[in-house]
Each structure stands twice: as C-alpha cells, then as structure tokens.
C-alpha cells in the first residue's frame, strides 16, 4: 500500500509553474529518489508535502489522510520529517537540544508542570534525554551532545539534522540532498546509513539527490522531474537508459549522440550539478 500519494499536484509562484500536474506514489518501506536538473521543482514538491507551501491544485494523501491543507506542525505530528538542502540546525543550541526539539510532537508535559517541577514532567524529560542520547549514538555522534550545533563539523551537522528528524519518529523521511558536499567515502557511508534507517527503523525514505552514485545505488524507484513535470519514472536501470532523461540532463545533442550507441552513456556518468534550484 502506498504511504504517500500525490495526485495532479500543481504549485505556482506568480507566473512560474514550479510543479505541474505531478502524480506520485511511494510504497511503504521503500527508498525512492526524486532527481532532475536545477530548478526542476524537486524542493518545491518537498515543501508541498511538508506543508511549507500549499498546493494550488491536486491532493496529497499520507496514509489516506489528505495533508495538502494542513499546517507544517500538524503534518509533522502525523509522522513526516525532513532535512534541508542547506543544513538548518538550531545553530546556538547544543546537539542534544536540537534532538530534544525534534521530539516535540511526542512530549506532553505543560509549562506549569515544568515550573512546579512535578514528577511526571521530570520523568518525561529524563526519558526524552535518554532517547536523545540514544539517537546521538545511532547517528554516530556519541559524546557530542553538549557541543553547540554550529561548532560541529559539516558531516556531523548533516547527521545531527537526520537525528533531529528521526526524533519525531517519522514514518516517512524526506532527505533533501543528504550528501551535498561530501566526498565519495562519506557518500558511501551515508548510503549505508540511509539503508539502515529503512531496514532497522522501518522508515520509508524519499530522497532528493544529485550524486548519481548514491541515487543509482540505493533507490528502488526513481522519479525524474524537469521544469516541474514528471518526465520519467522507474527502476534505476530504466532511468539510466531513458532517452528523455538523458536529454534533460545533457541536452538534445547529447541525447542524439547517445541513441546512436549500443551502450548509451549512463546517467551515473552525468556531471552532478553543483547546486540545486
């Protein structure tokens, strides 16, 4: 059963159609990537799912619940978490506090309880801290809980952002370019880590990614966007040989050249754009 269904989703910014009539499904417990050149509407689509932008047309259903008109905090409560293309941690809070904020949806205690220091509040706080430390260990940041987020090295910040998203106990995790700025070894490590999220925690994962090595290696299905429209969908192998995809990435000439060969240049050889739009 699909965990997320998008039907005919359209989002415009003034005259610009960022996402246009997009149909999309992701099966529970799958790892799916959305790729496409800069400005293809990938991040806008993410923003529509998480409620940052409201769709102009179309529905988005999460576990059969329509979410396209909900506020971001409601959507988070339902079990969707995300990370950001440019890391957006709470810079002057510690790593541990970042994760504790991520647990917000699952904490119940009121401020009155905190002021009076009643036992249920204290116990809940203790449990939350315990859980946050467990998450730190899970993402490999053991012992860095008291470091301010902006003092962490880049790779650690990426992992902390994922830990913060995990603290919400999501059923669906949206990762916006999790390996941006990473070297091949770090990318490899991140790929294994994303697999672990799915295998060990049973989280469905939706990725935006530019590093084709990662996309082809990890995704079960890939959706390709160009100018806000879906131009292809399928398994990594199907996408690699799809002429429309190659055209979108390399231009018409590249596609013509590719079609003349027996073994077309695979998408994995495509230059990764330096940054996404």
């Amino acid at each position: 059963m699909p965990i997320l269904i998008a039907r005919q989703v359209t989002k415009r910014f003034g005259g610009l159609v960022a996402v246009s009539g997009l149909d999309f499904e992701i099966e529970t417990n799958a790892i799916v990537s959305v790729i496409g050149p800069n400005g293809a509407g990938k991040t806008t689509f993410f923003n529509c799912i998480t409620g940052f932008n409201h769709t102009d047309e179309g529905d988005i259903l999460f576990n059969s619940t329509p979410i396209h008109h909900l506020r971001p905090d409601k959507i988070a409560h339902l079990g969707i978490s995300r990370t950001y293309q440019n890391i957006r941690l709470f810079a002057t809070m510690t790593a541990l506090e970042n994760i504790l904020v991520g647990q917000h949806s699952h904490l119940r205690s009121s401020w009155m309880g905190a002021v009076l220091g009643v036992r249920p509040t204290r116990e809940e706080e203790d449990r939350a801290h315990e859980e946050a430390r467990r998450l730190l260990r899970f993402v490999g940041l053991r012992g860095k809980g008291d470091v301010l987020a902006h003092n962490l090295p880049y790779g650690d910040q990426r992992r902390l952002e994922i830990a913060r998203a995990l603290a919400n106990k999501p059923k669906l995790l949206l990762l916006d370019e999790p390996t941006a700025g990473m070297n091949p070894a770090e990318t490899e490590e991140m790929m294994n880590f994303i697999r672990r999220l799915r295998d060990e925690l049973g989280i469905t994962i939706l990725l935006i990614e530019h590093q084709m090595r990662l996309v082809m290696g990890i995704s079960e299905r890939i959706t390709v966007l160009d100018y806000g429209e879906k131009i292809a969908e399928g398994t990594p192998r199907e996408i690699q040989t799809n002429p429309k995809v190659i055209e979108a990435y390399l231009g018409r000439g590249g596609a013509a050249e590719a079609s003349g060969r027996v073994n077309p240049p695979s998408v994995s050889a495509m230059p990764a754009p330096s940054s996404a739009g």
């Binding site: 905090d73 917000h104 949806s105 905190a114 008291d146 301010l148």
Partner: protein
C-alpha cells in the same frame, strides 16, 4: 627614513591624538570643570583631575601597546602618546587665552584653564605637556610590567577610583553606627582621605600579590581532585557564595540606609521586567518595544483595586490585587499578541512600539479620565505590609525592598525552570528558525502566544510592585523610555541570559541611580556605555553561551590548549 619612522610610530601618534580628543572632550563637555569640586582623595586630587589623569594613563597604555617592538620602545610610545595628548590640552589653553571660545563652548572658561595649568595662566603652559608625558610614560610602564605586577597595579587604581566614588554610601551609615572614628579616618566629606587611599592601595595590591603567590598551589590541588570531587567543591563554593550574598542583601537596608535600598528595589523591579522581556525577546526572539504597556496594566490594576482615594473602585488589599494584576496583564499579552503573531523581525518591533504608546496615551487621555484619573493619576495606594500587619517590624520603608527582591528571586526561579523545560527549548528553536521548528511539530501560534503572555505576566507583576513602591501612579510614568531601558538592560547583560538580566539591571539602572550626584552626565555615561558595549561585547556582559561553555568546561578543557597557546603567542 621619515616614511619608515611614520610606519612604525604612526599608530602611536594616532593614539596620542585620539587621547587628546578625549581629553579635550572631557574638558569642553564640562566634566572636568564640574567634578573639580568633588574630591576623590581629599586635599590631593579632585574627580575632574582624575578624569584627565585617567585619560593620560590610558592613552599611554594603549600607545605603548601600539609602539613598535624593541627594548624600552613601548615606554617611549606611551610617553609619546601622552606628550601629544598634553600638547593638545596646551593648545586649548593657548588658544583659549587669545580667543574667546566661550561664545561657542560654554565650558571653555578661565576656571578650566586654571585647572589645566594649576592656576598659572599662560605661564603654566608647560604643565599639561609635562603631566601628559609623565602620565603617558607611566601608562607605558604599567603596560611593560609583567602580568603579576600589572594586575595589582591596575586593580589598585581601580579600587581607589571605586571607593572614592562610593565613599559617601559607606561613610554615612558608618557615622551613625559605632564605626564613626574609622569612617572619619578613611573617608572625607567626599571621597577618601589620604590615609584611606593609602590603606586601600596597600590592601588591594598586597591582597592581589599574596593571592598570586598563595593561590597556584591551592588551584593545583583543586585541579588535581577527581572530577566528582571538583564538581562537589564547586557546588559548595557556589552555595556558600549564594548564602553570603543573601545575608548581605538582607542586611543591606539596615547597613546603608533607605536611599540605597530604594535603588536596590528599583533594580529588582527592572530585573522583574527584564526577566519578562527575556522570555519574549531573549528566548523566543520576539522584539517587543512596547513592553511598558504590560507594566502599566499591572500598575493601574493594582491602583484601581486598592486605592483609597478618588478613583479606587474596590479598596482591596494589595495582596488580593497582585494576582489579579498578573492575570490581567497576561490577558493583555494574549490580546496584543494575537494580531501581531504573524509579523516578523523589525516590523514586530514597530507594531509593539505602537501598542506601548497607545496604552500610555490612553492612560493619560481625557477619554479615560473618569476611570484612570488622566494626568492626575491614582493616589493613595496602600503599602503592601502596612495594611496586612500594621506596626510589624517588616512594615516601614524597607518593605518594598524585601518584597521586590523576593518577587525577583521567585520570578528568576520560574524563568530558570521555564528555560530548561520543553517550552524553553521550543522558544529557542522558534527564535533560531521558526520554519524548521514548525516542521518539527511546533505550534507557532501557541508557542509565541505563551511567550507573550508569560513575559506580560512578569511585567504586570513589576507594575503591581511599582504601584506599591511609589504609592501613586501617573500616566507619565509609563514612558517609552521604560521599554527602551528594559531592552537595553537585556542587551548589556546578554540576550537570553538570566544572570545577565541581573547584571544588566545593576549596570544600567542601579549605577546611574547611585551616581545621582553627577546627574547631568548620567545619560552621557549611559550612551557611552551602550556604544562601547556594542563595539566591544555585542553579546553582553554575561552571555548565555559563555555560561553554557562554563558549565561544560570539563569536556572542552582537553582540546583547546594548543590553540590558545598559539593565539597568545601571536597577540602578545
């Protein structure tokens, strides 16, 4: 050749010119003239001269720091900078004696020239030059001293200055007590006696030297302790410090008299409001420039409910009215907060500024005059304890002092609990990045509204106490300046830091009150402090991040030494 010399000594000359400008400013703004009446050390030096001496010393010190490296050159640099400063003062005297500067600059009077030349007129032109050079050289020498000697020297001078300024507050209560002999020996009618100055200097310098020699072994022993023991020791030390502090605070009104306790009560009131704004601004990042509105609501609520005069409606006791005032202020917080929650950043500041002004103008308006008394205000608000326990020792002029301190302590406790709670974390997350916070499940409306309401509640409590402290309230007390003061004390203390609020309130509210004798120049001091703070320590005196690092010092101690050693080598 000249180019090379300029390259090496240009910075020193610039410092000298800068010092000269500061000295000229001190003279022409009238500070030197006015404070020449006020002795710092009786019969030896007036406060006016002290300012000039300080200007010379500091110019020399900074000049020495900028001098090129080389043996004795830093002392030479200090002397040079001081010489330039002195030359500029000489120029002032010279020009002033030929041209009538008074037409433009009121303070360029013969009295000033007499002060600068020690009553010798034009014949004494050499005086500022010589003194500038000597003081600059002295400043350079202080810079050259090894740190173990430099610190006592600087602290000794600072103690002289501090005690000289505050002598009055110490002397008056001592005269009434059994220590009058000692008081007369140490303090003159203003400032220190020469004997007192000498004793101060010996005590401070001696104390620092002894500390430097005695402490390293003790510190080493503490450092050698295993972690849990060291933490326990620190906790004990903090506990003892707090206890001693509490005792001093309790005894203060008896020791220093009603004026100082009034000032402390005022500081406590501002601490209350500062802690309130610290929630809205420091934690949740919502800049509220109309904070005085909630203060006004609290004050007027108590006034209306308790006043026995014209506009009182209930004649309740103070204690029954206070919770009511807090709740009403909170309601106003919600009422004002709701429409402006969507506004971000600078625009929010302007909107709240509007609210503050609306409340002030309404309170003083003819429209509400039948209810709030307009500019005549509400009079005869009973003192809190007189009504409850007439004749009790707690009743009397000191009651507000204790009450304000108690409330400040209570509110600080609540603020600390809130900061460390889930709500506190959520506020900080909203401050850092509200979009991300929302995507993590934070309800922005609820969170921001709570910040407004709790901040307003604290300010309302402050207003209620203010009504009890003054005994009457007027619309003119609800000035925009109150809001600005509260924002400023947060900035000076350190945004989001609870101890910072206390430090900021002491610094910005307490000190200016204590310096009432220099009333004309209080706001000069205020403004200069704010500018200096923004330039040198924009994060505030006690920023919360530093405290955080302090608390986690154990974890970081291992890593940085290499770095800091390298840093020291390059800076010195």
């Amino acid at each position: 050749m000249i180019k090379r010399i300029w390259h090496e000594w240009g910075a020193v000359v610039r410092i000298g010119l800068l010092g000269g400008v500061v000295a000229l400013y001190l003279c022409l703004a009238g500070l030197v003239g006015v404070f020449s009446e006020r002795a710092l050390i009786t019969g030896i030096i007036s406060l006016g001269h002290t300012l000039l001496v300080l200007a010379g010393l500091i110019t020399g010190y900074v000049g020495a720091r900028r001098a090129p490296a080389g043996r004795g050159r830093s002392v030479l640099g200090g002397g040079l900078a001081g010489l330039i400063t002195g030359l500029m003062l000489m120029l002032l005297v010279l020009v002033g004696s030929r041209v009538n500067l008074r037409a433009v600059m009121l303070n360029a009077s013969p009295l000033l020239y007499d002060l600068l030349t020690f009553n010798q007129g034009v014949a004494g032109l050499w005086v500022p030059v010589l003194l500038g050079t000597v003081l600059g050289t002295l400043g350079g020498l202080i810079y050259r001293l090894p740190p173990q000697a430099r610190r006592p020297a600087i602290w000794g001078l600072a103690a002289l200055l501090g005690l000289g300024l505050f002598a009055g507050f110490l002397r008056t209560p001592m005269l009434t007590g059994g220590l009058s002999g000692l008081a007369r020996f140490l303090f003159g009618p203003e400032g220190l006696t020469p004997a007192g100055a000498l004793i101060t200097l010996v005590l401070v310098v001696g104390g620092m030297v002894i500390r430097d020699f005695a402490e390293p072994p003790a510190r080493k022993r503490i450092a050698a302790l295993p972690d849990p023991d060291r933490l326990r020791l620190r906790r004990v030390a903090i506990g003892v410090g707090l206890l001693l502090g509490a005792l001093v605070v309790l005894a203060l009104p008896y020791a220093l008299g009603p004026f100082v306790s009034q000032v402390v009560a005022l500081v406590a009131l501002y601490v209350l409001m500062g802690l309130g704004l610290n929630i809205t601004l420091g934690f949740a990042g919502l800049l509220d420039l109309g904070f005085v509105a909630f203060f006004a609501v609290g004050a007027y609520t108590v006034g209306l409910l308790t006043s026995t005069a014209e506009y009182g409606i209930a004649q309740w006791s103070f204690w029954a009215a206070v919770p009511f005032a807090v709740v009403i202020a909170m309601a106003f917080g919600a009422f004002f907060g709701l429409p402006i929650l969507g506004i971000r950043g600078d625009y929010l500041a302007i909107a709240t500024l509007g609210f503050g002004e609306i409340i002030r103008i309404l309170a003083g308006s003819d429209l509400l005059k039948p209810m709030l008394g307009g500019p005549r205000g509400i009079l005869n608000i009973p003192k809190p304890i007189d009504g409850l326990l007439p004749g009790h020792p707690l009743a009397g002029p000191n009651q507000i002092y204790y009450l304000a301190l108690l409330c400040a302590a209570l509110v600080a406790f609540v603020a600390i609990r809130l900061r460390d709670s889930r709500l506190g974390r959520t506020w900080m997350a909203v401050r850092e990045d509200e979009d991300v916070a929302e995507a993590l499940g934070v309800n922005l409306v609820q969170t921001k509204l709570l910040a407004y309401m709790l901040g307003a509640a604290f300010a309302g409590l402050g207003g209620a106490l203010f009504a009890g402290l003054i005994g009457s309230i007027f619309a003119s007390s609800m000035q925009l300046f109150v809001s600005i003061n509260v924002v400023s004390l947060l900035i000076v203390g350190g945004m989001g830091s609870i101890p910072g609020v206390v430090v900021g309130a002491i610094f910005l509210i307490g000190l200016p009150e204590l310096f009432r004798e220099f009333s004309e120049y209080r706001f000069l001091f205020y403004g200069a402090t704010m500018i200096a703070m923004m330039l040198r320590k924009p994060e505030g005196l006690l920023p919360s991040a530093t405290i955080k690092r302090e608390l986690h010092a154990e974890a970081e101690e291992e890593a940085p030494p290499v770095d800091t050693a390298a840093g020291n080598a390059t800076t010195s």
